[in-house]
């Protein structure tokens, strides 16, 4: 399991760490929600926490923002994020997974209040809130109650509430959930803008394609444990060196027989009837195609780079399999 110091070697970014999480453990009754997790988040990067439901991401995030405390291990913030009394909450922003705003209050007042709680003066918070609403195209709704906004706009207002005060570190828990593709793209652009302005972003999300487009580094968790961490190319190199093959076929194929070949790591039938074959390595491409051709008539072949989604699924499945056999314990 890589320690925080080892993680710093990933990715080639030379910025100093903003947060270092070292062997953090959190238990709830008999469940170990977070089990000796270690990683660091560097200044100016977008760091993504990935994992299935129950992986421990939320528990980890809640410890990072100070809502709960680790049972053991340490979370160390850089000097720029600390004050004399500990972590400086005014330098951090947080978008919780469970969204919530004061629906019965005007939008601009709610944003200004949340900004003021993060340390802005009331007047500066209101100026910042109005500027953000202008940027989101909601200036004319600034005095309207939040409950009158569409769900998508409420979500965007919620994100603004997390970053209104220009924090050094923004922790965004599932920032894309509940958004349509257009609004998801808008949030991707927003997060990129924040990074370009010098903000460090730690996000947890399920939308792998969006994370792949955004994240400088990712940490994959399952059942409270770290599975793998690094840049997306690093993960590709570690988990799947060969691109996957998409085969257009005529007729039905026996997936069991296809997966049984030693050159094939995984195979599945897509919704449109195409077959995706994942070879074990680059040297296995020909053997994989030949084996597939022996089972079904191939009318087209497309090569695809492995997606983060595939790496995620494979890593989690591998981990589950090892847990079942006891080798991961």
């Amino acid at each position: 399991m890589p320690a925080a110091s080892a993680l710093l070697a990933f990715g080639g970014m030379n910025t100093p760490p903003l947060v270092v999480i070292d062997k953090v453990v959190k238990r709830f009754a008999s469940v170990e929600a977070v089990a000796e997790i270690s990683f660091s988040v560097r200044e100016g990067e977008i760091f993504a926490l990935l994992g299935p439901n129950g992986a421990g991401k939320k528990t980890l995030v809640r410890m990072l923002v100070g809502i709960t405390r680790p049972d053991s291990g340490t979370i160390t913030f850089a000097d720029s994020l600390t004050s004399a009394h500990g972590p400086d909450r005014g330098r951090m922003g947080y978008l919780p997974e469970e969204r919530g705003l004061y629906l019965d209050r005007p939008t601009v007042q709610t944003l200004a209040y949340l900004g003021a709680l993060r340390g802005l003066s009331r007047s500066r918070a209101e100026v910042a809130a109005r500027a953000w609403l202008e940027r989101l195209g909601l200036a004319d709704r600034s005095t309207h109650k939040i409950e009158t906004l569409s769900k998508g706009n409420q979500q965007r207002v919620q994100i603004v509430a997390a970053i209104l005060h220009k924090p050094s570190l923004a922790i965004l828990d599932e920032p894309f959930s509940g958004l349509d593709p257009i609004n998801q793209d808008a949030v991707v652009d927003l997060i990129r803008e924040l990074r370009s302005e010098g903000m460090t972003v730690l996000l947890s999300a399920h939308q792998m394609d969006l994370v792949e487009r955004l994240a400088d580094r990712v940490l994959l968790m399952n059942r409270g444990k770290e599975l793998v961490a690094g840049t997306v190319p690093d993960l590709r190199a570690r988990y799947q060196s060969a691109p996957s093959l998409r085969l257009d076929v005529t007729g039905e194929i026996d997936l069991g027989a296809l997966r049984a070949h030693s050159a094939i790591a995984d195979a599945r039938i897509e919704e449109d009837g195409a077959v995706t074959v994942v070879p074990r390595g680059e040297g296995d491409l020909s053997a994989a195609v030949a084996h597939a051709a022996s089972l079904v008539r191939i009318v087209g072949i497309h090569s695809e780079r492995p997606r983060l989604h595939d790496i995620y699924v494979r890593a989690v499945r591998d981990h589950e399999r090892r847990l079942e056999t006891g080798s991961a314990l």
Binding site: I67, R89, Y94, L101, L103, R105, L117
Partner: protein, 417 residues
Amino acid sequence: MSSIRTVMEVARWEFLRFFKMKEQIVTFTLIVVIGVAVWGIGRMTDLGRLKSVTVAVVAPEGFSVETPPGTRIRFEPRDSASILSLTQEVDFRRLDGLLVAATSDSAVLRVGKVAAWQSDVETAFRAASKDARLRRMRLSAEEEARLARPAAWTVDHGNPEAREAWRAGRLWSVLFIVLTLMGLYIGNAYLFVAITGEKRLHVTEQVLSAITPQTWIDGKILGLSGVAAASTAIVGFGFFAMGWVTALLNAAFGAGVADTAAGSAAGGASPGPDLTVLLVDPMFLLVAFLFAVLGFFFWFTLFAAVASTINDPNTSGRTVFLFVPMIPASICFMGLKDPDSPLMRMLGILPFSSHAALPVRLAMGGLAPWEIPAALAVLTGSIWLLRRAAGKVFALGMLLYGKEPRWSEMWRWIREA
């Protein structure tokens, strides 16, 4: 941002969230309108009372019943032979009553329905009966006059204003308890709405990632104490305005038979205690205000902690806590009879009741000089301890969804804090 500034920011937010000036104006106006309506109903009742009442009287020769002063009862002497027909007239409501006096010492009043004037008839008969007995004793005019003269009776308070001050103190005490209780209910209701609403709206994590639970609960209590104080003050002013308006109406149209408490409270045209005695007493105002606000802090701190553990206010049994402040207030009401009793002395010191009992004792009783600082110290100390415990319960309660924590669990949180 300093903690105090953040507390004030939260307090301001909570105050503005719940204090709606429009609603307050409506409340104020409603109180005055209700006062005028009650005055009007009172006047109508008075007019009903002033309607003349006819009572036929069948009595032995030489015995007569006189109309009592201030009433519109008209006694009509009738012959004993007409008793049957008169009874039928009463039964058919053509006659208000029939008084049959077999002797000067015994009479029966026949009526068709129960009415307030019947006690006046009884009084008139008893007076006539007494006169008849005196006449049978054949007393001299001087002896009769001596018997009729009431004994002289005076209570010397030393200070001629003391009696009025005591009556005013009693009235003020009642008003104070009622208004404080009202403030507690208003604040508690808002606390329940605010806290359970924030849990329902899932704003908890957002806020708790920015400020500490203690800062949050402190700000909430401060802000909602402000709402409670302002709302109570407006209701109080509403009652005074109602009093002044009814007093003006009395002045314009004449006071009715029934005097209204509101008119008395305002020191209007109708007789009553002069409340200016206490209005200008800065000590009473200062102590009453101080203890009311501290009482709000005490109860709101307790309620904030309880509210944070409630998952659904519609189904939770803990909403019954809203009625707990009724207990000390009720005891204080009972204590008004004797504000210097050992019970009231104790309630004046205990933190859950001193906010009501101590100002009452100040207004009506013989408060020892040491009692105010002692009660103040006990109350502020209790608030401080309660605040720490409530902060811990609040911190954990606000993040709990689903099952409500048991009392034993909450007690464990406090001990661990």
